[in-house]
Symmetry: C2
Subunit: 436 residues, 2 copies
Amino acid sequence: MRTRITNVLLTPGATGEPHIPLIPDAEVHISDNRIVYAGPAGTAPVFENADAIGGEGCLCMPGLVNLHTHTPMVFLRGVGADLALDDWLHKAIFPLEKQWTEELIRCATDLGCMEMLRFGTTAFNDMYFYTNAIAETVRDNGMRALLGHGIVDFDESCADMAEGVAMAEKWNHACDDRIRFSLAPHSEGATTPALLRKVAQTAKAMGIPIHTHVSETDFDLQGCLKRRGMTPPAYLEAMGVLDSPVIAAHCVWFNDEDIALFQKHGATVAHNPISNLKLASGVAPVTRMLAAGCRVALGTDGVASNNSLNLWEELKLMPLLQKGVTLDPTVVSPAQALAAATVVGARAMGYDDLGLLREGYLADLILVDTRNAHMTPALDVEANLIYSAQGSDVRLTMVNGKVLYRDGRFATLNRDELLRRAEDGAQGMRRRLAQV
Amino acid sequence: MRTRITNVLLTPGATGEPHIPLIPDAEVHISDNRIVYAGPAGTAPVFENADAIGGEGCLCMPGLVNLHTHTPMVFLRGVGADLALDDWLHKAIFPLEKQWTEELIRCATDLGCMEMLRFGTTAFNDMYFYTNAIAETVRDNGMRALLGHGIVDFDESCADMAEGVAMAEKWNHACDDRIRFSLAPHSEGATTPALLRKVAQTAKAMGIPIHTHVSETDFDLQGCLKRRGMTPPAYLEAMGVLDSPVIAAHCVWFNDEDIALFQKHGATVAHNPISNLKLASGVAPVTRMLAAGCRVALGTDGVASNNSLNLWEELKLMPLLQKGVTLDPTVVSPAQALAAATVVGARAMGYDDLGLLREGYLADLILVDTRNAHMTPALDVEANLIYSAQGSDVRLTMVNGKVLYRDGRFATLNRDELLRRAEDGAQGMRRRLAQV
C-alpha cells in the first residue's frame, strides 16, 4: 500500500532536524508501514500508484505517544470527582472495577482508542487488567500499543506475574510489531522485593521494558523511605529494575539524586501533569529533569483522573506548569514539549524508528488543520502547535501506514454503535454496583 | 424574533438551581433577546411562530464570559514565546504594538471575536487602545462586551482618561445594551494617585465599573509596597477605587487581608490561570478567595500570553491547578468552576440578568455536543463538562437572541476572508517592524 500526502507544512520538530527550517510545501510518501520520503515537494522522488491525500492548510507531524494510561478506565470517566485520594480509590474506583467483564473491557478499550485516534494519538503505553482482551482489541482496531499486565503482589505469590509473562510471550512484536509487551509491576508499595527482583531478571532476559508507578505522591515516597530505607528510584536500582528500559509514571517527588539515577540508567519519566494536579499529587520537577538530561515524555494517566485522553492538553500544560512553578518563563521550549509528546515516548516504548517524519521510520502520523481563527496568524508555527492548537484540529490519524481516522470517520470503529454500547456498558456497571 | 430550542439537556449549573436535577429533555424559548422559558419539554408553554433549533445530544448552557482580555492581541499570537517578562514586553510586544492602525485593530478584533464565538464565549471584558474602533467592530459582529480604554499615566496629564470618558459616554448601553464601557486604568504601577482618584470619582458618578490589573507579579506587589507603603488592594481602597464595581485582573500575589478587602467591597477577581503560568507570574490563591466569599471569574488575558481565547482551557485548569498547588483534591467543584466561567463574570460586567438560563434573562447561550468519545459515558455530566469537554464541542453560539455561530458558520463574519486578511495584516506588522 502506498500513500502520497501532498501540500503539507513540515516543522523542524516533525522531522527532528532543527537545522532544516519550516517547509511550507512538503510531501510525505508512505510505502506499506514506512515513511519513504518527507521533505519539499520540489525534491520529492516520483511516487506512482499511490493513494493521494491532499493536506492543504495542514501541518503533518508524528502521531502523539501517550506514555502512561489505563485505557479501559474511560468507563470510569468523572467517577468520584473531587474526592480525597483514599476515598476516591476505595469508595469510587475499586468497587466499580470489580464489575468488569471481558466484554466490557473490549468495549472500553475501543472507546479509549477512538478518543485517542480522534485527537491524534497513534501509540500508547498501558497498564491494566484483562490484558489479553485489551491486546485482542488493539489487534483489531489498529493502534500501536505497549501493553503491560498490572502486577500487584503483597504475598510473594507472584501470581499476576506468570500471567503477565505468558501474555508478553504471546503478544510481544505481534500484529506487524504494532503490539509490544512490558512487565508492569504496579509500584513499590504494591509489590514485594522478591517480585521486583524476579521482574527485573525476567524483563532483562526477555529484552522487554518495565512499566511502573514511581513516587506519585509524598505518601508513596514516605512509605518507601520507611519500608526500604531509600527513595523509590534507589530501591528500583537496588532491585535491578533499572537495568532494563524503564517507563516510570509520575516521578513527582524526585530529588536531584533520583533524577541523576534515572539519567544514568536511561529510564524514562512518563509525566502526567493533569492527573498529578487533579489527584493533588503535586508537580513533577520536569525543568530539573530536562536540565539533567533525563528523558521526559507525556501521558494522560487513566481517564478517571484527567478526565480525557486528549494529549494536546498535556502538551500545553507541561511547559505552562513548569514556567509557573519555577517562576521562570524561559523554561521548557515548544521543541522540548513536542519531543516529550512524540519521539521520547516512542523511544521509551522500544521503537528506535518511530516518532519523527523521516525516511525509514514507521508511518504513524497526523494532519493538523491550521486554517482556523485560533491558529492565525502563523508567526511562530511551533508555538502555535503547542499553545494554540486543539486536539480537534486533527483531521487525519495514520498508524503503521493505515488511515484510522479522517474527518470524523474511523476506519476500524463504528462510532455511533460504539458510543451507544459504551454508555450502556458503563451505566450497567454502575447499576450493578448499586445493587450489591 | 422567536427561537425554540428543543431536545437539550439542562444541568443545575446552567439554570443556577442546584435543587433541580438534570433535565434530559428540555426546551429553551427565546423571544427577541430574552429567555422566556428554560425547563422540561413536558411543562413548556405553547410557543408558536418560532424558528426551531433541534438540540439532540447537546447540553444547553449559558455562554461563557471571558472577564479579562485584550482582544486585538490575537495578532501577536506566539510572539516572543519563552522570553523573560521584561524582554517579552520591551523587545517583542511593545515594538509590534507601535505598528497598529485602526484598520488592523478592526481586523484583529473580528479575528478574536471569531475565535471566542467558535468556542462558546458570548461576552468579554476588554482593555486596549483604539477602543472606539473596537466598539464599532463589536457593534457590527454582534458580541457582548464591556470595553475599557486603557489609561496609562505617568505624568498626571490624564490625557488617556478624557478619551476613555468620552468613549464611555458615547458607547455605554449602546447597541441594545450589548456594549458597555468601563474606565480602565492599566494598573497601580502605570498610573498616578491623582489619576486613580479621578477615575474613582468619575466611575462612581457615571455608575460604570473599573477594570484594572492588580498584583499580577511579585514585582508589582513589591513596587506598590515601596511606592505606596501598602498592598495594591489597600491602595485601591485608599484611592476610592473599590467604591465602584471593580474587575481586577490576576490578583496572584494576594494575602488574606487583600482577599478580605475585595470580599468586603464586592470586587471581582478576573483569574487568568494560563497567562499567569505562561508569564511565570505565579498561581492566584483562588481556593482561599472562594472560601472567603470573594468573587472569582475567569479570563484568558491577551492571546500573546496564552496563546488562545478558548475559555474551556481556563475552565478545566482553574480547579486542577488549585487541587495541585494546595495538595487537596477536594477544592474547587465543577459547579464553582462553571459559575466562574459564566454568571460571576456576567454580574461583574454589570448584567444582573445574564449568565444563567432563566426566564427573563438575556439570551446568551450555547449548545455543547456530548455525542462523542471524550464525553462518554455521562456518569457525571457536570464533571464531563469541566474536565472532558472541548471548546470544539460547541455547535451553536447565541448572543442577545441571535445565532452568531452554528456548525462551522458565522452569521456576521466571513471566515475565510477574515483569516486571509488577518494573516496578511499580522505579517505586515512584523515586516514593517523589521524595516524600522
